[in-house]
Chain length 194, copies 2
């Protein structure tokens, strides 16, 4: 792990960060239970379980004051009426925020907190989305052909809680519709017990 | 201050963030004592004390877990052989990092820590610079004509210590040279007492 200041090209010639400590390639199978159209999901798995998204990140000590950061790439694709998306997660330390800066593509960040509030902010190149502390977040790629590419920064002590979303889902679904998208209730969602 | 997630255009139509809570326009006079060519500095003040740089930022609670962020714009210009630059500062809470992402222009981030180490990382569009905890940092615009524009993110509890650099300066000067720049010792620098 670097102890001196450092620099790198966020989006290098290969469409990846020019330097990174870790590269995560998440296949569709990792999102089991998250898409509403189960037959379409199973059909996609049989056709090769494609990589739905990738994350390049720089390693930092997991302590307050350090900033974990990197590149998120959600590939284009659909499962029924739903777009390819990330698993989505809360931070294990709830009182930690995250900042996204969209570099390429179009999509949205779907968010919700444990009080049951939800929010959707669109991603377009140049747009910054601030995830206030306590909000789970999922990136969704609206494009049929192009990657959604964002730069992310979060406090390194945040940790990841994937389990809450894995078991309960997000409250809202984002569904493709002619000329755009619509937001629908997720019939499989259950609230976090207070 | 916003308590819900929010989004904005980082570089809006007017060359500023589309939303911001504060706008700082720092005139050259705020950098008194930082340029090595004092007659050139005084001449520039007499010619109108131009704005050397601007910062648009979103307000966040000054607590760990929140991320202060915004847009930094260093205008082009020179004082003798030195380029326009920011005052530069340590974070008051030394154990806090900062991330910069260069959006436009070319320049560098000059850094140093209290042990006397220094570092220079160049800014070009797409380049990320990570300021590890404990390093003071100053943005320098190498262009004669164009702004240096960067997106910055730092932990909101970091605070600012401008006084150390105001009184001691940076260890190194970055001086314009035919075809590039060179790094020289700052004769007016003094180390931080241990």
């Amino acid at each position: 792990m670097k102890t001196q200041p450092f620099a790198f090209e966020l989006l290098g010639a290969e469409g990846a960060a020019s330097q990174y400590d870790s590269h995560l390639a998440r296949r569709l199978s990792a999102l089991a239970g998250q898409f509403s159209d189960q037959p379409a999901f199973e059909a996609a798995l049989r056709q090769g379980d494609p990589v739905a998204y990738e994350v390049y990140s720089m390693a930092r000590p997991e302590q307050p004051g350090e900033l974990s950061h990197g590149l998120s790439i959600v590939h284009p694709g659909r499962i029924g009426s739903e777009y390819f998306m990330t698993k989505g997660h809360f931070h294990a330390v709830r009182e930690t925020a995250e900042v996204y800066h969209c570099l390429k593509g179009r999509g949205a960040l779907l968010m919700e907190n444990e009080a049951g509030d939800w929010a959707l902010e669109e991603f377009r190149p140049g747009r910054v989305v601030y995830v206030t502390p306590g909000w789970a977040h999922r990136s969704i790629n609206f494009s049929e052909h192009d990657d959604l590419v964002t730069f992310f920064v979060y406090p390194s002590h945040a940790g990841h809680d994937y389990a809450t979303i894995e078991s309960r889902g997000f409250r809202k679904l984002v569904l493709r519709e002619a000329g755009g998208y619509r937001i629908a209730d997720n019939p499989r969602w259950s609230p976090v017990p207070l």
